[in-house]
Amino acid sequence: MTQTLDISDADKRFARPDSSHAMAAPISATPSKFGTFAITFSIAFPLLYTVYERLNWPLFTYHPVLGIVDFGRQPAGVGPPMFWYGWIVLAAASALVVGAIATTIPGPLLRRATVFCCALAALWPAALEALRYFIVYMATFDADFLNSAWVAAIPGFVGAAVITYYFPARLADRLWTSWLLIVPIVGLVVLGYSLLQPWFLR
């Protein structure tokens, strides 16, 4: 009896909530609404930030010398323009909307939509680059009309739809939280690569 009580006491002593590993209590496999929002926001934000930075779509431009803010992307006036704040605010606002929508749709659909969006984010710029390569090196006619983000959207969307259709549902489920790491790491690779020429290889 004494031993039983001791073990019980030891259990209480060890089962404090500050242990990060073994004492983790399993919770439901389906995240709460807040969990769905938080995870979706954290996947969408880095993805959208990378897209906005690469397209140079800031919500506003800050001119530090004049101390004024202009809507959208504005050219340099007096002193350098700053777009970083504008990319962040636009990405955060967009990710908020995406996160809010995510809480209203069924989980399996959300996981498939995540695969679609990530595939689209990869295929759309890849298609644009492929079209530009085609225009410069392969086209035997005036193909300048193909040099458009909207033309590249067509193969991008089709490719992403095909990938999503054939993507196994179980893999989409298992991969969902992994996008939290895949998206920012790939985003940083893309953004880091864009810095090579202007700064690191100069």
């Binding site: 209590a25 939280t177 810095l195």
Partner: protein
Amino acid sequence: MNFVTSIMREDTFWRILLFVHFLLAVGLLAAITLQAVAVLMPARQVAGSFSERSPVPAASYAALIAVVYVLQALMGAWIYVKYRTYVRIPMEQLRHFWTVGSFELKEHVVTMGMGLLPAYWYFWRQPLSAEHENVRRWVTVFLALSVWYAFVVGHVANDFRGVGS
């Protein structure tokens, strides 16, 4: 700003801000590093079905880390105005391109980390989900690496033109 410049020189004001930014960075660095170490080094199994407690109460300060991370990012965004006009232009003129490039990457790294904070906070909520243990670990490590990178690059930029330079 007029109120501040009536009390002290503008340069002094920015240097004080930079120093507070540094102090917060040290605190954040310590907290996130301890947490990352705690998740990377699982508690040892001891006799019976119990586990030794981790020496660091990792879950208890996840919210604090998230708050300080946001505060740091906001403070960095404020000081960034001065950096863009007062530091980066001479940096370019003196051809310190690696420093400028590293600082540009720092902006992106910190932004990515900030985007991960809602998920990070969710994964560290009590009770901790065993199912999310792996993603919790790597999100924490990602944040720790982002803070370390930002700290080192910020320090190099400070050495070019900042407190004590």
